[in-house]
């Protein structure tokens, strides 16, 4: 008579094999870090990103090879923002903090009230035409001052395009560094902001106090 055997299913064998060859989190993190370093050296990262704690929650900072390309508030959903960057710029998007360390440090200094100008390369390729002209002008609005949407429209070359100037501000890919928060309504009310009206108020109050 045959010896009775307890048959082991293919799936159990597979599960035991998988357990024997599965790497732990620390190992995978170590390999990932090595990969990112090498990808950076080989010029294979088209968009690098990191997050930064700010008075307005976690900010996403992203850079192309040409400079800071995106700053996103939490309410914009970082995951969606990264997916858009992958579609609009390149899918070679990696969490690589080093290229953004300088931007993070300058933003920290700004939030602490110790910095009035950003000395950063900015890549505004995500804004085109008139929107781009508006953003280029915004960079000339000084710390602690404000301008009306109408004045911005005029400065960007289209005095009647007030609404379009507002739209350019609300689609600013690099808020804070490109100071769209310094643009307010002609009637003195604050106007909308990507990061919420409260964030805009806080930024203006901080700059006024500094």
């Amino acid at each position: 008579m045959n010896t009775p055997t307890i048959s082991v299913s293919a799936h159990e064998i597979a599960a035991r094999l998988a357990a024997a060859v599965t790497a732990d989190e620390a190992k995978l993190a170590e390999l990932r870090a090595g990969l990112v370093a090498r990808a950076g050296r080989d010029g294979l990262i088209d968009v690098s990103y990191r997050t930064l704690d700010s008075p307005f929650g976690l900010l996403l900072l992203a850079a192309s090879k040409d400079g800071l390309i995106r700053i996103a508030f939490e309410m914009e959903r970082h995951e969606d923002v990264l997916a858009r960057l992958a579609a609009d710029v390149s899918p070679r998007v990696l969490a690589a903090p080093a290229p953004l360390d300088d931007a993070a440090r300058q933003l920290d200094e700004y939030f602490a009230g110790h910095r009035r100008r950003f000395d950063l390369r900015v890549d505004l390729r995500l804004a085109r035409g008139f929107r781009r002209a508006v953003l280029d002008h915004l960079r000339d609005i000084d710390y602690g001052t404000t301008q009306s949407y109408a004045a911005v429209a005029a400065a960007a070359g289209k005095p009647t395009a007030v609404r379009a100037a507002g739209s350019a501000c609300s689609h600013n890919p690099v808020p804070i560094v490109v100071p769209c928060h310094r643009v307010v309504r002609s009637d003195g009310t604050i106007g909308n902001y990507l990061g919420g009206t409260a964030a805009k108020q806080t930024l203006l109050a901080m700059e006024a106090a500094a």
Binding site: A39, V93, L94
Partner: protein
């Protein structure tokens, strides 16, 4: 499920572990690390050109398969005394591999004929469809199924080997 065009970072978090299992099942630990890194570097190079309808995991496992073959061939050419290119996991490795009982299973996997081993790894560890497994192993789908079944049967005998000290319950 990741799709082509997603941020590459998501591919690493989603598929990094399965690529690692495949590399470790085909290679010793140090070589597996190299194969993992080579796989993702090659994938990063090619990623913008990946066709939109592609199966990302299958694509990554295919790259890993090719990297593992490259490494095995290099090792076979190198005149090293450790001719067994599919070395057992080194217990001196910095990382603890799993339960001792499964060392036998692991050794048995290493000793399977290449097609059986490949079929078991790609079907059961990478969860690929037999059609894709067949393409990787350069055989027919029916042959891939047979290889996987034969491989599993061979591994099962290891688990059923009678205990030398006496009978099993």
């Amino acid at each position: 499920m990741s799709v082509p065009g997603q941020p590459f970072e998501e591919l690493i978090s989603e598929h990094g572990p399965v690529v690692m299992r495949v590399c470790r099942a085909m290679l010793g630990p140090a070589d597996a690390d190299d194969a993992w890194s080579e796989t993702f570097i090659a994938a990063l190079h090619a990623y913008p050109d990946l066709r939109p309808a592609s199966n990302v995991r299958g694509w990554l496992v295919t790259i890993a398969h090719n990297k593992a073959i490259d490494i095995l061939r290099r090792a076979a050419r190198a005149p090293r005394p450790t001719a067994d290119v599919a070395q057992r996991p080194n217990t001196e490795s910095t990382e603890r591999l799993d339960a001792p009982v499964d060392d036998d299973l692991r050794t048995a996997l290493d000793r399977l004929p290449p097609k059986q081993r490949g079929a078991v790894v790609y079907r059961y560890l990478a969860d690929m469809a037999y059609a894709d497994v067949a393409a990787l192993l350069d055989s027919s789908e029916a042959a891939a199924r047979r290889s996987a079944a034969d491989g599993i049967a061979a591994l099962r005998t290891v688990l059923h080997r009678p205990d030398p000290k006496g009978q099993r319950p």
